[in-house]
């Protein structure tokens, strides 16, 4: 096999002491920026670009790949411990992970996230090694109508999954969709809901919304309750590692999460978010302990974490084989290639095999390093929860503010952060789930542009959504997801009445 030979050559490149060092620097930096809210891998790589111009390309890319994978690993940490996701891809992890942490099982949650990320990252990288060109060719064929249908599926499952009542979930989702509409309309170039502020023309960065609703909202909520429930200091489970039961319940979600995450990463405009949502819903449906969901079910951490790491590997498929960035970080990596006068695409494997295979080999190595780095750290991170809450949340507030300011160096964003913080507090106070709102902000604009692109391509003919087989199939699932539970419910009610 050609790929195996090339891969071995790649390991020769990646295993030199210097490149190993760069990989270590990358994964450590990546883990750090993943932990800090607001500062993500994309921004980190962008800021490092000019600094690395003097490095040989292979070393620079090995470091960048480490930052990318490391960010995916690190993002889960604050989600689980503090209910303040650092990246959009770890929002779902907060749902069950933070509940686990509150029950004293933080280390187990961190461990299943780390091992799941490792498993998914390694399988994803293997798929990248052996099947990249074939996958990329299929991925670009997916029409916008099918992508629109996929997002509808995510919306429907989300509104059903979150919160005490679907109505509250839907209200939250629509709040997010409304926020997502703010900014310049891509198709017509017209400003929407910008109230005359030029700062709003590019829309509101979802990082500001995420940090406002989660981190600031949570801080305000905790502060408002500080006097009422003093006693609720989280006790750490003495036996912090994953036990046999945890392993048994985690391995299948890891694999299913990988299967969902990888293809989404490879699809243009797919991203890491949709597969994490779908993975969560899937695990809830398949779990033998559905009653634990919402109270800290380990499957709800294992699946989405695997999904987001697998999608990180998936993103590299179209980037390397087609020069097609499908995420913010991938777009910056593309800029990094151009800095060296390299053009990713079908010819990159021929013109710079050292670079490509060295990079791919370094992904395997980076995954091992990240596991070695994160697993022993899990119990140590978990001790963060022992910090008295006033200090802990003051720290979160500082990091959130710095993180949001660093996005655009804009004071305007800090006002937005405060507004979203208040909204987040209100939602917690009145028991509205926060997650659907975030999903609306992230996926709303994507769904709109996919819908309108599909309509433009069909010349305004709505039937494109049912004529295209893949889109029709997914919309059928959406319909089933809406109708079947109602039918089952009414039948159960009738049977209940009959008996």
């Amino acid at each position: 096999m050609d790929a195996i030979q090339s891969l071995f050559a790649g390991f020769e490149t990646a295993l030199t002491p210097l490149n190993l060092l760069w990989a270590l620097v990358g994964v450590t930096l990546g883990t750090l920026v993943g932990v800090l809210p607001g500062i993500g891998p994309a921004l980190t790589v962008a800021l490092l670009l000019p600094v690395t111009a003097k490095l040989p390309p292979v070393s620079a890319f090995i470091m960048f790949a480490g930052i990318y994978y490391g960010g995916m690993f690190g993002g889960s940490t604050t989600s689980i411990l503090l209910n303040t996701p650092g990246e959009s891809s770890s929002i779902i992890t907060a749902l069950e992970g933070n509940k686990m942490a509150r029950r004293g099982r933080a280390a187990a949650a961190l461990a299943t996230a780390a091992i799941g990320s490792f498993v998914a990252g390694t399988i994803g990288t293997a798929l990248l090694t052996f099947a990249a060109p074939a996958i990329a060719d299929v991925a670009v064929q997916i029409p916008p109508s099918a992508k629109f249908a996929l997002i509808m599926l995510a919306f429907v499952t989300i509104s059903a999954t979150f919160g005490g009542s679907p109505l509250r979930g839907l209200i939250s989702l629509f709040l997010g969709l409304a926020i997502g509409l703010i900014g310049t309309d891509l198709q017509s170039g017209q400003a929407r809901f910008t109230l005359g502020y030029p700062e709003l023309l590019d829309g509101i960065d979802f990082v500001t919304v995420v940090i406002g609703l989660f981190a600031v909202g949570e801080t305000l909520f905790v502060a408002s309750r500080l006097r009422k429930d003093k006693a609720s200091v989280i006790k750490l489970d003495g036996n912090a590692r994953m036990n046999r039961e945890d392993w048994r319940r985690s391995w299948k979600p890891w694999l299913r999460g990988t299967a969902l995450g990888f293809p989404f990463g490879a699809i243009p405009a797919g991203g890491a978010e949709i597969p994490t949502f779908l993975s969560y819903t899937l695990e809830k449906k398949l779990s033998k302990h559905p009653e634990e969901f919402g109270k800290g079910a380990i499957e709800g951490v294992a699946g989405p974490e695997a999904a987001n790491n697998a999608s990180a590997a998936g993103v590299l498929v179209p980037l390397l084989t087609l020069g097609l960035p499908t995420s913010a970080t991938a777009a910056i990596l593309l800029a990094a290639f151009q800095q060296y006068g390299l053009q990713p695409g079908p010819l990159l494997f021929v013109t710079s095999p050292d670079l490509v295979w060295g990079l791919i080999a370094s992904l395997y190595i980076g995954n091992v390093m990240l596991l070695a780095l994160n697993l022993p750290l899990a119990p140590i991170w978990a001790k963060l929860l022992l910090i008295p809450r006033p200090f802990l949340y003051a720290g979160i507030l500082v990091f959130s503010t710095v993180g949001v300011y660093s996005l655009n160096n804009s004071v305007f964003d800090l006002f937005l952060l405060a507004i979203f913080g208040l909204i987040g507090y209100g939602m917690r106070r009145f028991d509205f789930p926060v997650t659907p709102a975030i999903i609306g902000v992230i996926l709303g604009p994507v769904s709109e542009s996919q819908f309108r692109t599909a309509m433009q391509q069909s010349g305004g003919d709505m039937s494109v959504f049912v004529r295209q087989p893949l889109s029709a199939f997914i919309l059928l699932i959406v319909l089933a997801a809406l109708v079947v539970p109602q039918v089952l419910k009414s039948r159960a009610a009738r049977q209940g009445a009959a008996s």
Partner: protein
């Protein structure tokens, strides 16, 4: 503060005579976009070369992203008289000023130089029935709703499709332009046969053109470009000439000697071997033009952009 200002001013005065030019101190370059984008990369490349060549030291780059660069433009306008500040900009900003109805336009700032650019290319999938630009134009005339993909509405790609429509005898208001937010999605749409044709900077399609997955029908350059085996649109009978150029401007309210010093610094930057080598590695086309030539060009480009955007129907 005052002291440094006086020092800087006197340094700049001497700079006005290029032969005895001294270096500029404490220069700041604003990239009116996020880190990693085209304007950011241009700013940081200028920074490196200015410092290495001793033309200016130290040079600092900072980012003011948002609204196609018009937020940065407003900030530049408010730094009236600051002769140690530059801003990277380009055709995209000229368009954004129109579509965003920005309060500040480029007639309010001090033009310094145009540096680099990239020509746009029209591509179709290899399996497409259209072999030449004339084939495509004929089919388009028969059916104006053929979908063309490119970047966001009102951007360079959209302008090019508008210019091509006019040259091909298609009503630009009737054309079906499908905007995508990133270059990647445009590429995916055309590779996946989801649109008839796509438009972007040559660099974005280069790898796919060379690999034979896309067919380039025409490039928007005035004459054939070395190393780019694509016929110009002009040579095929479509009078279109559009470069996605990038340049440098300074705040308003500079004296002519202050402006002259900055122009001289850019002239030196452009003359250096390091600059020529760097833009070659990065595949940027040298479109250098400075001083009064650039002043005139900027005015003409603003008028032309306004006309194109009017034709497309984005600006009233």
């Amino acid at each position: 503060m005052k002291k440094t200002a006086i020092l800087a001013a006197s340094a700049l005065l001497t700079l006005a005579a290029p032969a005895t030019a001294q270096n500029i101190s404490n220069l700041r370059i604003m990239a009116p976009a996020s880190p990693g984008g085209g304007w950011d990369q241009t700013s940081r490349t200028i920074q490196t070369v200015l410092q290495n060549q001793g033309i200016a030291k130290p040079v600092q780059v900072f980012n003011v992203p948002g609204a196609g660069g018009t937020i940065g433009l407003a900030q530049l306008y408010n730094s009236k008289g600051d002769s140690n500040l530059l801003m990277t900009m380009g055709l995209v900003m000229v368009g954004a000023i129109q579509t965003n109805s920005s309060k500040v336009d480029l007639s309010r700032v001090t033009p310094i130089a145009r540096l680099t650019g990239e020509y746009e290319v029209i591509v179709v999938p290899t399996s497409s029935p259209y072999k030449t630009l004339s084939d495509l134009a004929a089919a388009w005339k028969a059916n104006p709703s053929l979908p063309f993909a490119g970047g966001s509405a009102g951007g360079t790609d959209h302008m090019l499709v508008g210019l091509f429509a006019k040259a091909a005898g298609v009503d630009p208001r009737k054309m079906n332009y499908v905007p995508f937010s990133g270059g990647g999605e445009t590429l995916a749409a055309v590779l996946g046969n989801q649109v008839t044709a796509a438009v972007a900077g040559y660099g974005e399609f280069e790898a796919q053109i060379k690999a034979g997955k896309l067919r380039a029908l025409g490039i928007s350059a005035p004459k054939a470009q070395p190393g780019i085996p694509v016929a110009t649109m002009k040579s095929q009978g479509f009078n279109v000439d559009l470069a996605n150029w990038r340049g440098i401007v300074a705040p308003p309210g500079l004296s002519s000697s202050e402006k002259g010093a900055l122009v001289a610094a850019m002239d030196k930057l452009h003359a250096s071997k390091e600059w020529k080598d760097t833009i070659k590695t990065r595949n940027w086309t040298d479109l250098y033009m400075s001083g009064s030539k650039f002043d005139v060009f900027l005015k003409l480009e603003a008028t032309r952009t306004r006309e194109i955007l009017k034709d497309i129907g984005l600006v009233k």
